[in-house]
Amino acid sequence: MARPGTAAEPLRVAVVGAGPTGYYAAEALFKNERGVVVEVDVYDRLPTPYGLVRAGVAPDHQKIKAVTAAFDKVAANPRFRFFGGVEFGKDLMLGDLRAHYHQIVYCTGAQTDRRMGIPGEDLQGSHPATEFVAWYNGHPDYRDYGFDLSQERAAVVGVGNVAIDVARILCRSPEELATTDIADHALEALRKSRVKEVYLLGRRGPAQAAFTNPEIKEIGELADAEVIVRPEEVELDPLSRASLDKSQDRATLKKVEILQGYALRKPAGRSRRLIVRFLVSPVELTGDAAGRVVAMRLVRNELYATATGALQPRATTQFEALPVGLVFRSVGYRGVPLPGVPFNESWGVILNEKGRVLDPDTKQPIVGEYTAGWIKRGPSGVIGTNKPDAAETVTCMLEDLAQGAVLQPAHPAAAAAEALVRQRTPHCLSYADWLRLNALEVSRGRAQGRPRVKFTRVEEMLQALGR
């Protein structure tokens, strides 16, 4: 049997997930240096593409969203197709993909949050930060979520960039938010917000905080909120000092310098206060009779060095109480298993080696199945980190193709896959549909001086497209 990858018989690849990694995988497949002709069908369970660039990146970070122009270029390849609103494991099963494609790549990201594992975590008013993020970004699944913004004090657990996004959005003035593409329902709710104090809680010290320097600098430049840092908490402990003296890591030195600068600031009397705390961990959330969170018990941590010299937190016996009515946990994302796809529980990823999905029993690659991005390596890095990651997976895919180790689909024609998808999900969106929807969102935004006004319900999207 002839090996696929020619103009007459292209290599047919299904990509599950239209986030950055899905595009990077498609791009690497199109740009392969072996002259293999590839057709890529990208599926997403949402009608809209771009994954976390649309639903995760903060609305006041439009510059980061500019990467979508590069994604659209990939999608302009005539061998690229998009099927939006088609869910793997529900609308299309693994068996369907195996019958229509030579190779399948799972790029579904890390869709859920890690838990803190402390008592009171599920009290009313305690939320995963990811839900708040999805809500203010207009993710249709979170359209009807509610957050009690009548509370005056909120805590965000974690000091990564997601945590800082949440804290910043809570501290932005309505005027600042009104020029972004934040979802209308969130803008409306945040206009009425009574939140005055937002705590960002880091379990380690300033030198170990995961947020990056542009983000930490930005919170010092908010229109109507001031950032407050305790001088004693940004003073470097001896272990951090020694480690930094040795590494001379410039980004970390700068981070510490910015934070120490905040500690010197005088109160400016702004409406909101963003208080960044270090070396504290929540050990319990306490609630009132109605089951609403009213306070958080914190333990102070100290740092110790592991065998490799990495600095980790260890609880002391000093505790403090922090009255808060709203809690967002942002202690990391975690991947969700896909139906029928082997999962590695230890790391919360698809069981894989360099992107080849492995059989859990034999630990050998499963022919035709691959993974890339966060669901392959876990949530780390910036958007662009997924490009080399996807490239590694694609290299494996092309090596396997050269060995003849691909699926032998019963219906390899592009038209056969499309017919099946349209039969199962008559309302699925093509890339042309998406581009129309995008133009509509942008034009709605233009009237209000905003980058776009998002459609936040699937029915709304379909209606706008005249379906």
């Binding site: 500019a66 122009a69 490799t308 590695n344 230890s346 069981l351 080696e353 890095g381 662009g384 997924n386």
Partner: protein, 148 residues
């Protein structure tokens, strides 16, 4: 990024050998798995040492009967181990400074994997490449907006 991110794309476990096995068997394992080191574990799964190509080469220069000896005789006992949440930057630094090529990763006393200096450098390279790509995209978009 932490070293769990490296282990995530390395399949399941590290390749291991028991202290009482013969060097001959260890060599076969190194060749079969195409790796440079084996973690030496006791019956309980607790890592007690590491056996690298270098350990074998060093010993072979003055003992030609080496193959029949036990792994425990020549393994390195004083092993630096990593934890899944150790950060990449610190680990890279320590491995280079202490000239460690293979780092067994232990979680709650249990061996959960091994990372090599090659793995660490590759992860760092990907991280830098990714940051560079993201920064370039943003700069280009600035240029586009200014009409350049």
């Amino acid at each position: 990024m932490d070293i769990a991110g490296i282990l995530a794309t390395k399949g399941e476990k590290a390749h291991t050998v028991r202290p009482e096995q013969a060097i001959r068997e260890a060599l076969a394992l190194l060749a079969r798995h195409n790796v440079g080191a084996l973690i030496v574990v006791e019956g309980s799964g607790r890592p007690v040492g590491i056996l690298s190509e270098r350990d074998i080469v060093r010993e072979a220069t003055h003992d030609e009967t080496l193959f029949g000896r036990k792994v425990a005789d020549i393994m390195t006992r004083d092993v630096i181990t990593g934890a899944p949440h150790d950060d990449l930057l610190t680990v890279a630094h320590t491995m280079i400074e202490k000239r460690v090529r293979h780092l067994p990763v232990v979680d709650k006393g249990r061996l959960v994997g091994i990372v090599s200096i090659g793995d660490v450098l590759k992860a760092q390279r990907d991280q830098y490449q990714g940051e560079l790509d993201t920064l370039q995209t943003q700069l280009l978009s600035d240029d586009a907006r200014r009409g350049r």
